[in-house]
């Protein structure tokens, strides 16, 4: 897929759950001892200015009709790597971008309570907007000091700074590559700050990270 002027061919998307202290406080979840990982599949990826499709299947069922935005800093893997030590992390990162981890919240909550996998609620088509560009590692000296913001119809809903990340990028890289081989183009989304909330067909979402840019997506009803 293209992100700005670059083409990447990811083989997987790994997301980090509950990784901002402000979001952990908001959800009432426990502070994790290790990073919490879950996948999104590639069918969810869309670019800047492409629509997020609200599935009818969710919209028409009261038990599932809540879908949320979650703005996140994502990093893109540069080369195939495994067992990456923390001090070698940035040699394996191509750059940074903005990711929106769209989530069918009621479905996720129901699956969590039933101890089922977090998969279907996270991986509907178009539930992973990414872009508008990849800021290379030499453009961003410190990825842990960037303002991160999400606006819904012009109103700020999430505002934080990547310095509030519980597990920083080198720790995430070391932890993930202890278990899994990463491939060039793979996408790691580092978690969302507080302020999560629901979207509706017709909404306009602008997700911004300092020094990267703004990812803009409209929400449309499936079939319209």
């Amino acid at each position: 897929m293209r992100i700005g002027t670059r083409t990447i061919n990811p083989t997987k998307i790994i997301c980090i759950g509950t990784n901002y202290m402000d979001h952990i406080e908001e959800t009432g979840l426990d502070v994790p001892k290790e990073p919490v990982l879950f996948p999104k599949t590639l069918n969810c990826l869309i670019s800047d200015n492409e629509p997020i499709i609200y599935p009818k299947f969710l919209f028409n069922q009261r038990k599932y009709n809540r879908v949320d935005y979650e703005v996140e800093l994502a990093f893109i893997i540069k080369d195939k790597c495994k067992h990456v030590p923390m001090d070698d992390t940035f040699n394996h990162i191509l750059g940074y971008t903005v990711f929106n981890d769209i989530t069918a919240r009621k479905m996720q909550a129901k699956d969590i309570v039933s101890k089922l996998p977090w998969f279907r609620s996270k991986s509907f088509d178009t539930f992973g907007p990414i872009g508008p560009r990849i800021a290379l590692t030499d453009e961003i000296q410190d990825p842990h000091n960037l303002n991160i913001e999400l606006k819904l119809n012009g109103e700020t809903k999430q505002f934080s700074n990547t310095k509030n990340l519980l597990f920083k990028i080198p720790k995430l890289m070391e932890y993930i590559t202890t278990m899994f081989t990463l491939e060039p183009g793979d996408i790691i989304a580092t978690g969302t700050p507080s302020g999560i909330g629901s979207i509706q067909p017709g909404d306009l979402i602008e997700a911004t990270i300092e020094k990267i840019g703004t990812l803009t997506n409209k929400v449309v009803m499936e079939g319209e």
Partner: protein
């Protein structure tokens, strides 16, 4: 496993770093082997089907048009890690997705060559002892229902792999084990389990 009979198919993801082909080793990760909390890794033999063309919102009656063929899949699972994650409501992900935790093969049998995929003997042996022996007729959700259900959520793409679940008899594997998994009319895959080497 004492799991409840589900109302709908339960699905989870394995990422493509897990895939290995016939005769390639399953690597037992050191971080599991050396940690008493996590040192249980299980075999699960499954019938897999491969998608032939992109599809979304497919009706049960139409599902067969989107199946390229069938193969054998091993859903290798770090069981203690899965249970400990599930007990604290964490996602089923890391326990399922270590490198080499998804052997597949030995071939794709074309859709037309298997008249009834729901009447195939399926078995798995370790070092020659049978551990899983069943038949695909015991699957709760049949292939067309599974494909139709998943495609309500996700677009499936050409080459995507859907593994249909494992029968009883799951159990642990150890470094040094030879695993052979067979499905009638498809064939067998054989994998040696080796301990991850030091860097």
């Amino acid at each position: 496993m004492n799991a409840q009979v589900p109302k709908n198919p339960v699905f989870f993801a394995k990422t493509v770093n897990t895939l290995v082909t016939d005769e390639n080793p399953i690597v037992y990760p050191k971080i599991l082997y050396e940690n008493q909390e996590y040192n249980l890794v299980d075999h699960e033999v499954e019938l897999a089907f491969i998608i032939s063309q992109p599809c979304k919102n497919i009706q049960v009656e139409e599902a067969n048009k989107y199946i390229e063929g069938y193969s054998i899949f091993l859903d290798i699972t770090a069981r203690k890690m899965q249970i400990s994650d599930r007990n604290i409501n964490l996602p089923w992900y890391r326990s399922k997705n270590f490198d080499t935790f998804g052997p597949i093969g030995p071939r794709i049998v074309p859709f037309n060559d298997i008249e009834d995929p729901h009447n195939l003997n399926i078995e798995l042996s370790i070092n020659g002892d049978f551990r899983q022996q069943s038949n695909t007729k015991y699957m709760i959700f049949k292939i067309p229902e599974i494909l139709s259900y998943i495609s309500k959520f996700l677009t499936l793409f050409t080459g995507d792999i859907v593994a249909t679940g494992t029968p009883s008899g799951v159990g642990p594997i150890q470094p040094g084990d030879s695993i052979k998994a067979s499905i009638e009319k498809i064939g067998s895959i054989s994998h040696k389990v080796i301990l991850e080497k030091d860097d």
